[in-house]
Symmetry: C2
Subunit: 301 residues, 2 copies
């Protein structure tokens, strides 16, 4: 099964207590793809500028990611610069954002891609998420992410696209902001009233909470001694979840739990290196090995 | 198997977004006992003042807790007054503390109690924890908790008692403070160098991390829609952990995971009511029912 992801492909400059790196391959759709590719054929829909290095496109190709809808446009690639402070690796301080081509160009899908059933709308302008989804012929499973900027500035467009989503994936600050509830569980429950019948609240190093009317559970993050760079962990997580579900083709509680566990493991690799250093090198065997270790946490008999 | 707990029995006045209550039964040893009693015979060693209501002692008795070493002394009972703010139910703001009899009296054990193998030294002056432990004849399993005040003001006494502990149970801020490490896992690992071969880092609504040289795992908290009063959740958690281990008499990874799961479930009841409203009413059947639900979170196949 394939999966289409709409999102950003960016050049990230990041400073963390472990060092700093400039103009690394990043962006929501890039991180998502690098994780979801382990489970399903990923079709990456994004726009980059003329300055985007060919080696990054080669990397996507070598990892089996379909880049036919990764459009190169006149202008510069979206750039993000951020910093994580020693006392809170869960929260990025954005130092600079250059939208570049994002302001004037938009990815398009080809005929075959439009027939794919599974789609993830990574963090993007909700109006464009809606427009993109309309191009899909029969999206049977739609995952959606967003961010505080859209919650505060494009609320009605966000509510419109939420109606079309089956699974909402967002971090806990966003869940509280969007629902006006102060508790992760009540926030998730409140958000299902906007359309998505499933909500995952991502809590970074504290794991994730899943809520649907029939099934609620929490899973911890995989404990790590060092978090090198958390950028893209949430997208990597979503890639594991959506990728696994696209491959499984089922939404039973067991499949949902496995999906979130795989997302958790993929995210744990992501944070162990700058940018996509670790996830680009990650193989299914690595994920399976850590998954086995993770599952052992819960062996109660 | 029995278990001895040294700690405080207090009268707590608490304000949370769900309301406020004055002079409720509280204290580290009280919360611990109300949880551990489900698994093992608990011997409560603490000091209260003349103002301590007889009904509270009756409650302990009715719950099967041995109060023969709960000494009533001249003076007033230890009183704590605190508040939890809407945006952070994980952290208590202490408004007032009246030590009362804690400054001049100290619990003693009888002959039979001194022969008990399992002991929990709840948060207390580390010099007195040490003195108390010396009275035990052959403490085979010693659990230890502490708080920031002792970390900063009685560091060397704390290091001395840590050498005697097998299991250190403390919250993540304390773990970071005591180890000077910024990561829960590296903090736990560093703390084993002081003596305890096992460390549990309590993360409140985010669950708990267990570390020993042979076995590391994380477990989530039980998700709840409303946290009414988190006071004593950590002691209730420790009561479940220590109580289960005392009953099991084994420290295999499976038993440790079960112990932490039971502690998690007991703590989830604690936070659903003010003071010991819920834990005093909690029966083993309640804990088992929620444990079954909790274990289902981790059913991956």
């Amino acid at each position: 099964m394939g999966i289409v992801v709409l999102g950003t492909v960016a050049l990230d400059s990041v400073k963390t207590p472990h060092g700093s790196q400039k103009n690394m391959l990043g962006g929501s759709a890039a991180h998502f793809s690098m994780s979801a590719r382990l489970f399903a054929k990923v079709h990456l829909a994004a726009v980059v500028g003329e300055d985007f290095p060919a080696q990054h496109i080669d990397l996507f190709r070598r990892r089996g990611i379909d880049v036919s809808s990764l459009r190169k446009e006149k202008g510069s690639t979206f750039k993000w610069e951020g910093e994580y402070r020693h006392d809170d690796l869960n929260t990025a301080c954005t130092l600079n954002t250059e939208l570049g081509v994002l302001t004037c160009a938009f990815p398009r899908l080809d005929e075959a891609q439009r027939r794919i059933k599974s789609v993830f709308l990574a963090n993007y302008d909700p109006e464009l998420q809606y427009q993109f989804l309309k191009e899909m012929q029969q999206p049977a499973f739609v995952g959606l992410d967003t961010m505080n900027f859209w919650i505060h500035n494009k609320r009605s467009a966000l509510e419109k696209i939420m109606k079309k989503a089956h699974l909402l994936v967002l971090n806990d600050a966003e869940a509280r902001d969007l629902s006006l509830e102060n508790n992760a569980l009540t926030a998730a429950r409140a958000l299902t009233k906007y359309g998505p019948r499933m909500v995952i609240v991502k809590k970074g190093e504290h794991g994730a909470l899943f809520y649907s009317r029939d099934c609620t559970f929490a899973l911890p993050a995989f404990p790590l001694a060092a978090v090198v760079d958390p950028t893209g962990a949430g997208d990597t997580f979503a890639g594991g979840v959506m990728g696994y579900l696209a491959k499984a083709g089922k939404l039973t509680p067991t499949h949902l739990r496995r999906a979130i566990a795989y997302g958790t493991i993929a995210a744990s690799y992501n944070v162990q290196g700058f940018g996509m250093q670790k996830t680009a090198a990650m193989a299914m065997a690595d994920v399976r090995a850590r998954f086995t270790e993770y599952v052992r946490f819960f062996k109660f008999s």
